[in-house]
């Protein structure tokens, strides 16, 4: 009931305060930012350059994306070179001042998040690695509040006519997120200390948040596809040293399944990002469900 009231309040105030201006056009690189922005600017038209099934490292700077970028009032991406293979081309080809770097209306989540795995020395022999740090920041749960604050501020300055609604939505998002954080951290208690083999450090922020540890990677080096030799070396891992094999929905499952056959450890496929219509907290709920279903089964009674 309280929820309904606040929705009504927001709607009424938005109607009262907003000029009959056109809704904002927002371009995002990954679906998680679409979900985040939709919570802050529900009236905006938001276009995501990638889907949950695509690897955001390997996207084509295709004509349809240039056309979308041309019309954007604002853009948001993960940054930290995740999109370095295509985003700069879109920015240049779209000729849209609003989406150029260092503009208020061009937002990079990794510039807000406390980055993990930053490197002073980067060499391509280390694989497709970035000095900025691990760019898969959609699971930096604790930093989402800081991101939300920046998003609200930017929206307010880009579209002052609707500033009040962005302010209210931001407050609502952060309040809800804080509640969820408490809930998630309680639920995730059984996951603390769990050790896994994963793929590409995709879940670096998730594991860091939940107190899990990735002890080996199915990729020999970030961005280098699993090789037979590397997978063979993983079979020499002490089977007692890890609890599960985790990979992401857009990644090739062959390597994970192969290691499963060798070690009999459970395989968990986690989503990379939100699926259509899903909110960011629903994604987190789903990931916790998926992890807990496999990793927190009731301990068998010893006897």
């Amino acid at each position: 009931m309280r929820f309904k009231n606040s929705t009504l309040f927001v709607t009424v105030s938005a109607v009262m305060l907003s000029a009959p201006a056109l809704a904002l056009n927002i371009f995002v690189c990954e679906p998680e930012w679409k979900a985040l922005l939709a919570a802050h600017a529900p009236k905006a038209t938001i276009y995501s350059a990638t889907t949950a099934l695509q690897d955001p490292h390997y996207v084509q700077a295709r004509p349809s994306l240039i056309a979308k970028m041309r019309q954007a009032d604002m853009a948001m991406c993960s940054g930290a070179e995740l999109e370095v293979g295509w985003l700069p081309m879109l920015q240049a080809r779209s000729s849209n001042p609003a989406v150029q770097n260092n503009k208020q209306s061009m937002l990079y989540a990794s510039e807000i998040v406390s980055m993990l795995d930053t490197h002073h020395h980067v060499d391509r022999s280390m694989g497709d690695i970035h000095a900025y740090g691990n760019p898969h920041v959609q699971f930096a749960a604790n930093d989402m509040i800081r991101i939300s604050r920046v998003v609200s501020k930017r929206l307010e300055s880009i579209d002052p006519a609707n500033a009040f609604s962005y302010l209210v939505n931001g407050v609502k998002f952060r309040e809800h997120w804080r509640q969820k954080l408490v809930e998630w951290e309680q639920r995730a208690e059984p996951l603390r200390g769990i050790q896994v083999v994963s793929y590409h450090e995709t879940y670096r922020y998730l594991f860091d948040w939940l107190g899990m540890e990735q002890i080996a990677d199915l990729e020999p080096k970030p961005g280098i596809s699993p090789t037979t030799a590397h997978l063979q070396s993983l079979t020499r891992l002490d089977p007692a040293s890890f609890d599960a094999i985790i990979y992401s929905s857009h990644q090739n499952k062959r390597a994970a399944n192969w290691l499963h056959q060798q070690t009999d450890k459970p395989v968990i496929q986690l989503p990379l990002t939100v699926s259509k219509g899903q909110t960011l907290d629903e994604l987190y709920d789903q990931i916790l469900d998926d992890l807990l279903r496999v990793l927190a089964q009731p301990q068998p009674v010893k006897g």
Binding site: L53, S64, I66, A67, R70, P97, T118, D128, Y132, G223
Partner: protein
């Protein structure tokens, strides 16, 4: 205590903008290109044996909040000689309103589909014979460009260029601005898995019409002189182009597998001065095209097939005569290539080319090539 200090140090590294050292100005990138081949293709920059191809050193940076700058130098070896070419040296606007952008300096022309792309992003060892004959492999020049991207859901880009045209001049007293181009590009997605782009181009060459043929002595071998010419082999007043590219990847995820089909057609007209009309073999129009398909079947392996054909001609006058002697020429090539990518930055490629040239002589050229990049690696166009 010690632990606390360490974690403090680490967290300060994390919080400190580590961005500073990698966002440094300018971005520098190097492309290394080496090969061995057992023959030669017509109008090619690559000779027989071991050689270095398109070795590139590139620097780029945002100059300020309004301009972006790029400098690309190319080193090429031909026998004992090493050539240093300036392929790109341009500035481009970043913040013009209404989807406009202006580029000035030396740059790759927007004519056609492949011309404005860097050679190291190609899927084959060399540009198709159509490009080598009509555009001197890739046409770059000094001048000015204005582009306009329309605010439509379908991608529509209009562009005009004014260029010196010195590489495409067929006359001695060339005008200062020799070449004007105008291009239209449209493109969109067929579905989540497949995208397309179609382009029309027109190039007006004020100095393209041949009004004089040089004397040619049959006894000397004039081959070496023009072996690695960067100018187009044939020119005319008008060059028309149409191009199409279609890319497909399952669910739009290009990492594991994808397919690219591209094709271009070019038509050259108004080639020789009217005083040569009626001469035997005087070309009226010349056409060139290619069709290419490349399939990536794993992240590290791809294979491709390409067919290209170009009409051209050769003309000279004999000593003491004013009558030119003209010969119609035709080159066609079938290429088959297999490439292995050690990563996103290193490629080793094997290519077989069946060359069928003017007098229907056939030749088989086999090339083994590597193309590897280090430093900053720019994003690639569609």
């Amino acid at each position: 205590m010690k632990k606390k200090l360490v974690s403090l140090a680490i967290s300060s590294i994390l919080v400190s903008p580590a961005f500073a050292n990698t966002l440094s100005n300018p971005q520098i990138g190097v492309v290394l290109d080496g090969y061995y081949q057992n023959g030669e293709r017509n109008n090619s920059e690559r000779s027989e044996g071991f050689g270095l191809g398109h070795t590139e050193i590139s620097m780029s940076a945002n100059i300020d909040d309004k301009f972006h700058g790029v400098l690309t130098t190319v080193l090429e070896t031909h026998g004992d000689e090493t050539e240093l070419l300036l392929e790109e040296a341009f500035i481009q606007t970043l913040t013009m309103p209404y989807g406009f952008n202006i580029r000035g300096g030396r740059f790759l022309s927007d004519f056609g589909y492949m011309n404005n792309q860097h050679m190291h992003s190609d899927s084959f060892v060399e540009r198709p014979v159509a490009y080598r004959t009509f555009l001197g492999s890739h046409y770059y020049d000094d001048g000015l460009r204005a582009n306009l991207v329309l605010p439509t859901d379908m991608y529509v880009k209009l562009g005009v260029e004014a260029l010196s045209g010195s590489k495409m001049s067929a006359v001695d007293d060339a005008t200062a601005v020799g070449v004007y181009t105008t291009t239209l590009k449209i493109g969109d997605d067929f579905s989540e898995s497949s995208s397309w782009q179609f382009g029309l181009s027109y190039l007006r060459n004020e100095n393209g019409k041949v009004n004089n043929f040089e004397e040619h002595d049959h006894s000397t071998d004039g081959h070496d002189e023009h072996d690695h010419s960067h100018a187009s082999a044939v020119t005319g007043s008008n060059l028309y182009g149409a191009d199409f590219v279609w890319k497909w990847a399952p669910n739009g995820n290009y990492k594991y597998s994808n397919f690219t089909l591209s094709a271009e057609y070019m038509l050259l007209d108004d080639i020789v001065d009217s005083k040569f009309k009626g001469e035997k073999n005087a070309p009226d129009t010349l056409a060139a095209y290619y069709v290419s398909g490349v399939y990536r079947f794993t992240p590290s392996w791809s294979a491709g097939l390409r067919y290209s054909d170009a009409e051209s001609y050769e003309g000279h006058v004999h000593h003491g005569s004013t009558q030119p002697h003209l010969t119609s020429l035709n080159d066609s090539e079938i290429d088959a290539m297999v490439a292995w990518d050690s990563s996103h930055f290193g490629t080793v490629r094997a290519q077989y080319t069946r060359v069928e040239n003017q007098d229907k002589a056939t030749d088989n050229v086999f090339t083994l090539q590597y193309v590897m990049t280090f430093g900053a690696h720019g994003a690639h166009a569609f």
